[in-house]
């Protein structure tokens, strides 16, 4: 299988990778390639670098996906049937919608949204981005408007944070656990339960102070009506992500490709029965460019400055060769022991080219055809 067939056949493409490997750029380029191949595509991204956002024509804080104008998407060719929308996730908006959708009444939703604890929690970025990405992905898949959703997972040190965070929340939302934190009239009986609940009450009271603990318990009480909905959705998303039409790609770069982490990623996916689709080695010089060696330039050099310049270029070419060889070695290591259907592709280094949309088109084509 090639990356191209993934782009044609899958419904969900999840791009994982540590921060700084060019994950967002890869997600955007793959989305562009799939849309130009005729599909209706959504790229979901979090916090892209400003220049990349500008290249895609994204506005910050948009409440809906932004369509890329077809003339732009198809620049240089005839406009086809594919479409591309891009949305820069706003965790705040995603959560607000979730609360509104899952609350039994609009008043109940307002009680939660106006609670200052709710605002405090949704203001904190860490962890919440992962929940928001999962929630948004599930929403778009449920709605069924797009044929392919490409998810750029939140920036993290660890390629797997995205997989971990929703599970952590779901475990906490286990009824037996949560009920211990609810105001007493909402909880249930049992001696052990009462004892544990009292212990928690006094621990939380000493840490947070009595009034804050009351406030927190009241908030949990208001929020608890949503828990079964949140859990159901987490289950549903897990189902969707382990389905045949989902694919997980690990994006890495020659500098940060630690083979240890790469192997760890594959094992973790396997453990969770999530479909591993391969690796994208970003910003690599693995491809041959078929150019002549700069020694050929020496006979054209007319003066000292030109000779010195060519000597320096020869020096650079030697370095380039060493790097390119290293990148090729890395790519073939990645390609070893791939499961059937998985890919290992090298994305060329695009330098400063990516500052315009054309750069994304070229990168997408390079990826799809390798």
């Amino acid at each position: 299988m090639s990356l191209q067939s993934l782009l044609r056949e899958k419904r969900v493409l999840v791009l994982c990778g540590a921060g700084g490997v060019g994950k967002t750029t890869t997600a955007a380029a793959l989305g562009v390639a799939a849309a130009r191949a005729g599909r209706k595509v959504l790229v979901l991204t979090i916090d892209p670098a400003r220049r990349l956002a500008e290249a895609m024509g994204l506005t910050e804080g948009g409440t809906e996906p932004t369509p890329i104008p077809p003339e732009r998407l198809y620049a240089g060719t005839e406009v086809g049937p594919g479409r591309l929308d891009v949305w820069m996730l706003e965790p705040r908006i995603v959560f607000e919608r979730m609360v509104r959708r899952l609350s039994p009444t609009p008043e109940a939703a307002r009680d939660i949204l106006d609670n200052r604890l709710y605002r405090f929690l949704s203001d904190l970025v860490a962890g919440m981005q992962e929940y928001a990405a999962a929630e948004a992905l599930d929403g778009f898949l449920e709605e069924g408007h797009y044929e392919l959703v490409v998810l750029d997972t939140p920036p993290s040190r660890h390629a797997l944070d995205f997989l971990e965070a929703p599970g952590r929340l779901a475990r906490f939302l286990d009824d037996r656990i949560v009920s211990l934190f609810l105001p007493e009239e909402k909880g249930r009986g049992g001696r052990l339960w009462r004892k544990t609940s009292q212990l928690l009450g006094s621990v939380l009271g000493s840490i947070f102070g009595e009034s804050f603990t009351q406030e927190m318990r009241a908030f949990m009480g208001a929020f608890s009506g949503l828990f079964s909905g949140i859990r159901e959705r987490a289950e549903r998303l897990r189902g969707r992500l382990s389905a045949e039409d989902a694919a997980f790609l690990l994006v890495t770069s020659p500098e940060s490709a630690s083979l240890q982490e790469v192997g760890y990623f594959r094992d973790m996916l396997h453990e969770r029965r999530l479909p591993f689709a391969g690796y994208v080695l970003n910003r690599s010089w693995a491809r041959e460019d078929g150019l002549a060696h700069p020694e050929a330039l020496l006979r054209h050099a007319e003066d000292e400055a030109q000779r010195g310049g060519v000597e320096a270029l020869i020096h650079l070419a030697r370095h380039e060769q060493v790097r390119a060889d290293a990148h090729r070695g890395l790519l073939s290591l990645l390609a070893e022991n791939l499961p059937t259907g998985a890919v290992a592709v090298a994305a060329p280094e695009s330098g400063s080219e990516l500052e315009d949309f054309g750069g994304l088109v070229r990168l997408g084509e390079a990826l799809a055809t390798s």
Binding site: T196, L200, S253, A312
Partner: protein, 308 residues
């Protein structure tokens, strides 16, 4: 410039993944030890579930099993993997009247899950363990670890850590949490005690992101100590050589070395842009062929030998 760094209590190393941040943090710690400081090299655990996950930083300094207990790596250098649950335990021990109660509380599955799931509480645990370590003293009253070098997680999470104290103070201005948060801020916002170092690469996107990060860190009033431009390629051209070769290439078309040449140009532009826009001094590190621990040693030697 480095001597001024060693005088502080905490150096926070941040930057995107893949820029060599962790290697730099290890080299910085080694260089500080070589200059006679006792150093604690710290990092933040990835997640509470997999305390077994690999730690590149630990293996760079030769620690076999990274954990939340401080271990001495070599004379003058100690290592710790900061853990939320450890910080939370220390915190509970401090605020609860009976020590047994803290232990009992942490054995409760419900509380552990609560502490793991609530994002703010995890970061708070990490912050608290770090504060506790910075506060630790020797029998003579001097600090046990005069200098802590903290390898912060990737940009997004580092900013969340930076944003946390203000957010916490806004909902819980009083009580034990408010007290320790305020103590934390006194350390973090004092430019004679703390400094952030932002590591980046000489490429357009990383430089843009670093300038954005510097602004964001400034918003949280965390003092910026330096920018670190890593893997700066050597400049092989004699004066006039670059322009001369450009003319030749213009006439005879592209040759091998094209990619390296473009990379060199980007690196030079990046250095100029960073130096003129970053509100702090810029430290540059050469691109070196070594990897892993050898690279740490070379960079540390480079740092200690660098003119101040």
């Amino acid at each position: 410039m480095l001597d001024a760094l060693w005088e502080r209590r905490a150096l926070l190393v941040s930057g995107k993944g893949g820029v060599g941040k962790t290697t730099f943090a290890a080299a910085l710690a080694r260089a500080a030890v070589a200059s006679g400081r006792r150093v604690l090299l710290a990092e933040v655990e990835v997640s509470p579930e997999d305390s077994e996950s690999p730690s590149p930083l630990a293996s760079l300094v030769g620690v076999r099993s990274p954990s939340a207990r401080v271990s001495e790596v070599s004379p003058g250098l100690s290592y710790v993997r900061l853990s939320a649950i450890e910080g939370q335990r220390l915190f509970l021990q401090e605020v609860l009247p009976v020590r047994l109660m803290a232990d009992a509380a942490l054995r409760t599955r419900a509380l552990r899950r609560f502490l793991e799931a609530a994002p703010a509480l995890r970061e708070m645990g990490v912050l608290f363990q770090m504060l506790a370590l910075v506060r630790r003293t020797r029998p003579d009253g001097g600090p046990l670890y005069p200098l802590t070098v903290l390898d912060l997680p990737a940009t997004g999470h580092a900013l969340a850590l930076a944003a946390l104290p203000d957010a916490l103070l806004s909902v819980m201005p009083g009580g034990p949490i408010g007290r320790s948060v305020r103590e934390g801020l006194e350390l973090l916002r004092n430019p004679t005690l703390t400094g952030a170092l932002l590591v980046t690469l000489p490429e357009p996107l990383p430089v843009s992101e670093t300038l954005e990060l510097a602004t964001a860190i400034g918003r949280h009033r965390i003092p910026l100590a330096a920018g670190v431009l890593n893997r700066l390629p050597e400049k092989p051209f004699p004066p006039e050589g670059r322009a001369a070769v450009e003319r030749l290439l213009g006439t005879h078309g592209p040759h091998q070395g094209q990619r390296a040449l473009a990379r060199l140009d980007r690196a030079q532009a990046a250095e100029v842009r960073l130096a003129s826009n970053l509100p702090a001094p810029l430290l540059t590190l050469p691109e070196l062929p070594e990897h892993g621990r050898e690279l740490v040693e070379r960079l540390a030697t480079h740092l200690t030998g660098a003119p101040s």
